[in-house]
Symmetry: none
Subunit: 539 residues, 2 copies
Amino acid sequence: MSKSISIFDTTLRDGTQGEGISLSADDKIKIAKKLDALGVHYIEGGIPGSNSKDIEFFKRVQELGLTSKVTAFGSTRRKDSIADQDANLHRILESGVRAATLVGKSWDFHVHTALQTTLEENLAMIFDSIAYLKRQGLEVIFDAEHFFDGFKNNPEYAVSVLSKAREAGADWLVMCDTNGGSLPHEVHGIVTSLNGLLPGAPLGIHTHNDCELAVANTLSAVQAGVGHVQGTMNGYGERCGNANLCSIIPNLQLKLGYDCIGEDNLHHLTNTARYVSEIANVNMPVNQPYVGNAAFAHKGGIHVSAILRDSRTYEHIEPEKVGNKQRVLVSELAGQSNIVSKAHDMGLAFDPSSEQYKLVIGKIKDLEHQGYQFEGADASLELLLREANGELQELFTFESFKMLVEKTAGRPVVSEAFVKINVAGQSIYTAGEGNGPVNALDNALRKALLQYFPSLKDMHLSDYKVRVLDDKDATAARVRVLIESKNIENSWNTVGVSGNVIEASWEALVDSMRYALLGQISPSETEGESLPRQGIVNH
Amino acid sequence: MSKSISIFDTTLRDGTQGEGISLSADDKIKIAKKLDALGVHYIEGGIPGSNSKDIEFFKRVQELGLTSKVTAFGSTRRKDSIADQDANLHRILESGVRAATLVGKSWDFHVHTALQTTLEENLAMIFDSIAYLKRQGLEVIFDAEHFFDGFKNNPEYAVSVLSKAREAGADWLVMCDTNGGSLPHEVHGIVTSLNGLLPGAPLGIHTHNDCELAVANTLSAVQAGVGHVQGTMNGYGERCGNANLCSIIPNLQLKLGYDCIGEDNLHHLTNTARYVSEIANVNMPVNQPYVGNAAFAHKGGIHVSAILRDSRTYEHIEPEKVGNKQRVLVSELAGQSNIVSKAHDMGLAFDPSSEQYKLVIGKIKDLEHQGYQFEGADASLELLLREANGELQELFTFESFKMLVEKTAGRPVVSEAFVKINVAGQSIYTAGEGNGPVNALDNALRKALLQYFPSLKDMHLSDYKVRVLDDKDATAARVRVLIESKNIENSWNTVGVSGNVIEASWEALVDSMRYALLGQISPSETEGESLPRQGIVNH
């Protein structure tokens, strides 16, 4: 039996301290579900009461019935006060979680400088706060802030902090390298000496990446005996980020033989990491270890021919183990198996040797080269594959659109769209207004289609994302728009790419409607008779 | 005296294997000069004869008289041939360098699978090639490819490879973790055992970042005794990249007391790293350790108030040591202390107890609540603060804009913008076209302003980001636009938020121009006389 390591994800709390990372309550719920499916043991959701987003998150997350334990974060009680009356501790209890993370000081310098209190009062703050939450029946994870700096400066005091937290009943004693300045051999040495000073203590580790050593420091601590690891997806976090769980988990599980999220879950890693980066709207570096798009990409010609002979020649693990895949940047072989498996999932029986199949592979490659990404746009990919398979009946054709945005000083901005499409031989011309240009286009297109396809009334756009693909030319850069749509039963995703954000949005919008209409039959000419032959301008 | 570590930079060779990295001969010359000024010992320039860029680089670099040694890279001779007649080795000699890097196999599996030759012939290839270049008077650095995988599989053979290279006269024996799959404790163990097997050998280390451990593996090797470190600026390189010298150098020099580039050069590190990323045209991740823009950025309010008391509370080193600087981010999580310190940076003397100060704090909080984010938009924040301080002279006022996007089937999309502003009492009406709506607005607004403020011609938009803030209402959701602008000397960031992406872009665009015009004087009525009194419609 391999030793089990408890994985504590703090993407939703410490991760949001990262520059440019801002998550709504809705974003947090989505990520929490995904982390639960990945199999992490703890999901730290936020700081209850610090803002309305976190209050909403803690309320909604309880209805999800997650397997992972959701934890709320807070500080130990204020100095010279009483834990039972501490507003922050009350907010943790009110949030409804069954586990809490309490942070306390373990560096004497910080007790003096930041808290401006005595070493004794700090110990009392830690003891009282933990004991209070334990009495209320919560599991308590104690984060010893600046533990390593504290240990280097005053080892007795740092150890007494952990010891006091343990005495109060803390379930995990987490040593934090808050400033990220420690080195792996230091971490290993300090954890090893703690094994002697606090035998059998349930130790955990929390590191930051300021020296580009957060992953190494975490491994060092685990190798020295800790059983609990804190980190974030993609290493999000303040300054240089927190320890990156997307690298730590495979390192521990594949290289060192520990059990973290279970062997069956590891292949969800890449997908989870990319999903989180999409929700956070942060570009994932292509070269991110394990889960990046280039993590198993081979460029050099010699490498490629060796790789094709035996992938172990230039790959340290099988990419599939973490749900990633090999990419040969110069080879036509890349990606095909993916599309074959995708088509299979859709129930399409493609013959991989057919001309038709080669054409669609070529088209997809060409589109990807232009910046389309089908990983987040299954519906657009399905439309392409069904079209290539000759089973897509187009129910309407595009003729034109115009989009006007007008703003006069002191008056609200106005967006109007004019859409001309052809359904069953009839040209339909509609107009729509909206809060913004895409909303106006959606309203105008919907108005045109609803006359023929009333089922569209149950469908609406539920998510809209814009990504600038190449920022070299700034306003002349290409953008990718991803749209998520929903009806009563399903949701689906579509993509559009253009140098023009309006055109890219339009593409994704049209794909969304086309997908919603899959399986519907073209309105007959007879049915058409009941509608005016002339274009209709509604407003 | 601290031990000296020889720093070998391979940004120009192994770095260019990274996805999306492509350097012209001119780029390489620029980077070589900058690396020389930083004080690295070796600059690997490329593979002579592999392409015309590298031939040109080796010719031109000789005229620069650099202090760093420029090296050329190549493989050992082909199997079953003679070193003296090997085309690749000849090209190294012809390149005019005084130092060469030769790569050879040290993993028996690779000798069989990739080279498809015998273990003995591989040893002969290594010996002959090194001995030949040494006879020609070159310094030779031997890169033992896959050394760690080789050692794990067949330690005797891996060691015999290093031993043979040493016998042939190699100046450095570099152990490469080519696939990036090794862990720090393995590297430490293997290097330590080599100290016994090859006493006094001049060992070096070359690692890759596939486990996010390249920096840690390098430190492990140095701590076990190696004296030569290979890596790239910003960790550029194939797959997940090479070992990042921008983290290794400060770790070795500031944390472990080794001498790498000298204390006086270390403060050039941030500037060099950013320069290389500019030339390579790759965005530097904001959270890059030591040199990133967020490496010493503080967001949390509690952190910020502690930082202002004593920077050691949340900073592991003084940022100035590596040429970086502390930044205090303004965000909803932050308290007032962030804004006080920001205003202070701008040279604004706000009285924190004044009514005017409370008003601007209230306004900023309100804007943040609406979705504005000033952490990435220093210029917009500065405009707000200067306005509150009564020192902002508005040089133009907005009257109206119209934006039209039109698309007809089979024809390219067209974007046009019409802008009306008032400068010095005159209403100016201009029109512009563009690749997209923002480009069209930029062109129209610029046309209006250039007549009065010719200095704007040096300014352009260099980055454009769009973030959807709340996806609940999808196309009716609010969006935040961030714009980065540049002129010859500076870059600045502005923000706009609206339910309408065009209006949000317009806001950020206008702030960008307002910031560019800070300190300029309003054109007088007299100057205005020389311009037509009527609105001008240009196209």
